[in-house]
Symmetry: C2
């Protein structure tokens, strides 16, 4: 039986949405774990009382008190150092001590990334972590990494992202041989900036199903299952795409009196949280505006990552390509 | 009286669309220049005959023969070196020799960028050129540069892009104090990759209306008039955005039997061509799929750049901030 830790104080609608999301997960027949709510004990109990949660479900909830909250405006590394009693730091430490098997927060993304790296450390062999998130495409969805954990990536970092993304996608798509593309500015291996041109050569030598370079237009077309890029590029693209969702909605509403019910397909929030791959633990960063459904989805993803022993699989694949000649530009 | 040179062989629909675009421009009351069509003389004459062009307009067209064509699939630098009789090389050389005052092509973008730099050279003081293009936004349009001419930008390059973009926008928006944003992954000056964090400090010291950092979501919102970024990032974003246009169309068509007539607002082709700023001449790169209207728009833009003496204005502004201490990371 696993225990999934959830930051009850994280996000724009805390503690309401995290707690409602936890209840939704506990009600799901496929979810077998318990949930640990991390945050202000009094507020959490109040919320649970207001929701009239069944006793059966309440038994599967454990509360871990944390007296502080890292706000969206706090400086990430400073907050991690100075707010030792914050729900993010307390939650990550409980995970590190193996009290819980995963930690999820819809709070400050930077603090989650910095805190996870500092408190959990890295998977053996991994140099830099990457945040992986799904982009809705015309064919379904493409996993894009990194979307903001590591900027100024070296070629070797991009190669490790390609391996981690492939392992993750295998688990979550059911596709045992997902294609991996390297985001660049031309299809030819020689097109791109210095890092991508070198990364192309490194990724070619791994055992993943490397599609080669892809371009910006190929993401929405769903040309590959996994798209690898530097965290700067991925973050700009993610935020751009999120705003496109609003743009599409405003354009469509111009022509239709009522929004079509399935327009939410194009809403990134349906995809739950984004795992920080490469840290020695399971750390999932959810969007600050996460709905209860998005939180529930993140909790189910976390349970799956625990059951599948994702990090063991990553460690094994990374070890295969942990060659010194690849690492010249790595550190 | 200016002469605007146009590559009659460039683009997916050449020579038809370039020639029809030239005719549209000549018919426009605000357009006073002559047009030089560069390409296969026989094909051009055939097209002109088929179009039954008025004698009055024909008098304003000059044909410059070029026996070769650089295709979309040719390797840019190789093609520029080896295809000396191509319409792109011939056109750029005619411009360099001041036979014509500007050159426009909807052909191979890489060849236009490489050829312009090689044949025209750079404006005094400019280190690297940038392709500038308009992104449609909720408020109107934002000029984004660079979208593919220079990757692995140094901070000083980004500062020069900011200055060039500001000068260009002043001319084409009528706004004498356009805001310029630096595309990054957080609003704070310390957020970003190494190049943007340093560029932020350099741009702050110029006399342009610097808004500070913007994020991916701010482009479609139209938060700034000009957005500055590395050519790798800008190119990924441009191609992503182009594919979003198709995405929006497919979503809307799902709900409407006929596409609304003004949906073309969201079509980047309406914005004509993208100037390669920083080269010592006027070089405009149009999209390969350019319609005659897009070509016409590019021709009007070129005339305006000539009349406004854009490059003189850029040179003057660049000189003001041509300080050695800014250039440590420049070359």
């Amino acid at each position: 039986m696993s225990l999934i830790l959830l930051d009850a104080m994280g996000g724009d609608f805390a503690p309401k949405n995290p707690i409602e999301g936890a209840i939704l997960a506990l009600k799901d027949k496929n979810f077998n774990s318990d949930i640990g709510l991390v945050g202000d004990e009094k507020l959490i109990n109040e919320s649970l009382n207001n929701l009239n949660v069944d006793q059966d479900l309440l038994k599967r909830i454990e509360i871990f008190h944390a007296s502080e909250v890292i706000s969206m405006h706090d400086s990430p590394t400073k907050a991690i150092k100075e707010k030792g009693n914050s729900s993010i730091v307390v939650g990550l430490k409980l995970h590190k001590q193996k009290v819980g098997d995963a930690f999820i927060s819809a709070g400050n993304t930077g603090a989650m990334a910095a805190g996870s790296l500092l408190i959990l450390g890295r998977i053996k062999g991994i140099y830099r972590p990457a945040i992986a998130t799904f982009f809705p495409t015309l064919k379904g969805k493409t996993l894009v990494l990194d979307v903001g954990a590591t900027v100024d990536c070296k070629p070797f970092n991009l190669m490790q992202f390609a391996i981690m993304g492939s392992v993750y996608m295998k688990i979550f798509s059911g596709n045992l041989n997902p294609t991996v593309g390297l985001l660049s500015i031309g299809e030819e291996p020689t097109k791109g900036n210095d890092a991508t041109v070198k990364a192309h050569q490194l990724i070619k030598q791994t055992n993943i199903n490397f599609y080669g370079n892809i371009e910006g237009k190929d993401i929405i077309k769903g040309v590959v299952d996994v798209a690898v890029c530097d965290g700067f590029v991925g973050n700009v693209l993610l935020k751009f795409y999120e705003s496109v969702g609003d743009f599409i909605r405003s354009v469509i509403l111009k022509y239709l009196k009522e929004p079509p019910s399935d327009l939410s397909t194009y809403d990134y929030q349906n995809y739950g949280g984004a795992p920080l791959l490469g840290v020695d633990g399971i750390s999932i960063i959810s969007h600050g505006k996460s709905s209860p459904l998005a939180i529930k989805n993140a909790i189910l993803v976390a349970e799956r990552m625990v059951e599948e022993k994702l990090n063991k699989k990553i460690e094994k694949e990374i070890e295969l390509f942990d060659k010194d000649e690849y690492k010249q530009d790595a550190v």
